[in-house]
């Protein structure tokens, strides 16, 4: 008997190893970039050549090593206070990534729980949750973030709170739709027939069946969360200085763009890389698992 896995492996034998790597480049590159940045974030103290707040006034606006006047001491140059751009970007990864990953974890959990309850329970509960979701979606997120930052004072948890307070609504909508679809399938009826309680049905029967949608949603939102965090930092309502975040680094360099472009450019490139990696990875997972979800 030939099983399906054997058939697959036979087909694979025809393709060279390089062919397989090229085919999965959409996964390998983003995973590589993201893991590199996560390593930077975790081991920032070891990797960064200088402390993020060490200023050196004689060495202000030193260009990157490969530009005329640059030195290998400061590989990506220094900023207006003579701080090492590379070190700050490495530390910035820590702030940017931890803030956005935490915010994603919060928004995804809240959105999933509300979405499943809404979709499975239906009726008034559903109407109530969905109206709140509509309200959350109709609010301009940056405006609310500024309001929150101003009233609570800037700080790590303020930023996370501001990013999370509206972000769950997108998840709630998508997950509710999925829960609604799954609620009407026969295996849910079968579970009800053997006396499984509603909470257990939501946890054991609905949740596992929406996981792929959730994973896609999470990866695709990495980019937008990083952007939102950077926007907040750029506006000066993010993590307070001297702790660097990529957004605040871009903001720091905006007055010197004509003579010291590197101050803004490198953190900007980092933001771009993460956003693109998140989107590419999300696309790849989506295409692999469920091509029907192209519209997400």
């Amino acid at each position: 008997m030939v099983t399906s896995t054997e058939v697959e492996s036979k087909q694979y034998r025809g393709i060279t190893r390089w062919g397989r790597i090229v085919k999965n480049l959409g996964m390998i590159l983003p995973v590589g970039v993201l893991s590199l940045l996560i390593i930077c974030a975790i081991f920032a103290d070891v990797i960064a050549p200088f402390p993020y707040d060490e200023t050196s006034l004689p060495e202000r606006r030193v260009p990157p090593a490969w530009v005329e006047g640059g030195s290998t001491k400061h590989f990506l140059g220094t900023d207006t206070l003579g701080r090492d751009v590379l070190s700050r970007a490495v530390y910035g990864a820590r702030v940017s990534l931890s803030v956005s990953l935490l915010a994603i974890a919060i928004t995804a959990s809240v959105g999933t729980v509300l979405g499943i309850i809404s979709g499975y329970t239906g009726g008034r509960v559903d109407a109530f949750i969905m109206r709140i979701t509509d309200m959350a979606m109709s609010f301009p997120p940056l405006l609310l973030a500024i309001l929150i930052a101003v009233s609570l004072g800037p700080g790590f948890f303020t930023v996370i709170f501001a990013l999370s307070i509206l972000g769950w609504s997108g998840y709630a909508r998508i997950i509710r739709g999925e829960a609604l679809r799954i609620r009407n399938s026969d295996f849910i009826a079968q579970a009800q027939v053997i006396g499984v309680s509603p909470w257990r049905i939501m946890l054991r029967h609905i949740f596992p069946n929406i996981q792929n949608v959730l994973i896609i949603g999470v990866t695709l939102s990495v980019g937008s969360m990083i952007l939102a965090e950077s926007a907040m930092s750029y506006l000066g309502i993010g993590i307070p200085p001297p702790m660097p975040s990529w957004g605040s680094m871009v903001a720091d360099g905006r007055n010197d763009l004509d003579r010291a472009w590197w101050i803004s450019a490198f953190p900007g490139i980092a933001i771009g890389l993460v956003v693109m990696s998140g989107n590419f990875l999300g696309d790849w997972i989506r295409d692999k698992t469920d091509p029907r979800l192209r519209q997400l």
Binding site: D186, V193, G195, H205
Partner: protein, 322 residues
């Protein structure tokens, strides 16, 4: 005869919709003995499935409501149980097999996990004992090599095998009553015959009472002991299967039996009943079947016929029963 396990009396289930009240089940009474198979036959939309769901109290909320009647299972009126008590009954006392085996299993769990869920829920056993019970449920439904099947996922199995697994889930706690809602419609003819034979054997081993919902008279003839014929939310005739086929009294029953294609007669055209079943929102006055009935007289259109027992266990609701 053995004891009556389920007695349904005057069950009325209505759906409250924007277009009006749909009287899906409108005064249905019947009983089922232990170890007996009671068939409910009728065309689509006559209220068969709703009757089954009403017994389990699993109507689509908030539209569907049981507005009257009694459902007495082994001395307890199910309609008086609390939601939690009812949930305890489901799976352990009553179970149901749904129409489509292809979608009745959760794609993300193995067969073993899915049967174990019901066992854990109702029998309060753990670990090794659970596995034992799961395997015995698979054996009961004659599933070959149960130990390997345990670890398989639904997509790895054929339709007939999946339907057996669904049966194993339903029977895993040895319920007293099993409601089977057209469990064979999605199967092809040879598998159907096997499956029906299996039902009989499971019943012999467990003495479970079965309510078999179907529109197929062939299935009725091969598995049911007694039959109720349902039309527009009412049971119009009840009899033992043999009596019903040999001596149908209600014109609707006669018409249904006549519209089954037969191999031993050469007819050019298949017999069919004129007209459409009535809308359950706007039922005709008098006998519900009267607008389509060839024997109908004027009084049939005016007054609803009572249910009359014409011989032992044979009841019929028709003015023109003679």
């Amino acid at each position: 005869m053995s004891k009556i396990i389920l007695q349904v009396e005057g069950l009325r289930t209505y759906f409250f919709t924007r277009r009006g009240v749909v009287k899906a089940v409108d005064g249905v009474s019947f009983y089922v003995h232990e170890g007996e198979t009671f068939g409910i036959v009728g065309e689509s939309g006559c209220g068969k499935t709703v009757t089954g769901l009403s017994i389990l109290r699993l109507l689509p909320e908030p539209a569907g409501k049981i507005v009257g009647g009694k459902i007495i299972l082994d001395g307890t009126d199910l309609l008086e149980l609390s939601k939690n008590e009812m949930r305890e009954y489901r799976g352990s006392m009553i179970s149901m097999i749904l129409q489509d085996p292809m979608t009745s299993l959760n794609p993300v769990y193995t067969i073993g996990d899915q049967i174990a869920e019901s066992v854990r829920l109702h029998q309060g056993v753990r670990d090794e004992m659970v596995k034992e019970k799961v395997i015995s449920a698979l054996r009961l439904l004659q599933i070959p090599s149960p130990e390997t099947i345990l670890g398989e996922y639904p997509f790895q199995m054929s339709g007939g095998m999946r339907q057996r697994v669904v049966g194993a889930i339903s029977m895993s706690c040895y319920p007293r009553l099993l409601i089977a809602d057209e469990p064979t419609t999605a199967l092809d003819a040879t598998i159907q015959a096997q499956y029906l034979a299996l039902f009989k054997e499971v019943q012999r081993e467990t003495n479970v009472a079965i309510i078999f919902i179907t529109h197929d008279f062939g299935v009725v003839a091969s598995i049911c002991h007694r039959v109720g014929v349902m039309y527009a939310g009412k049971i119009v005739e009840t009899a033992t299967t043999r009596e019903l086929f040999n001596n149908p009294k209600h014109p609707y029953t006669t018409a249904l039996i006549n519209s089954v294609p037969r191999l031993d007669q050469k007819d050019d055209r298949l017999y069919s009943i004129e007209g459409q079943p009535p809308s359950l929102i706007d039922l005709p006055p008098g006998c519900r079947f009267s607008p389509r009935c060839s024997l109908a007289r004027e009084y049939c259109h005016e007054q609803e016929p009572p249910e009359v027992e014409i011989s032992d266990g044979h009841t019929v609701s028709c003015w023109r029963r003679d």
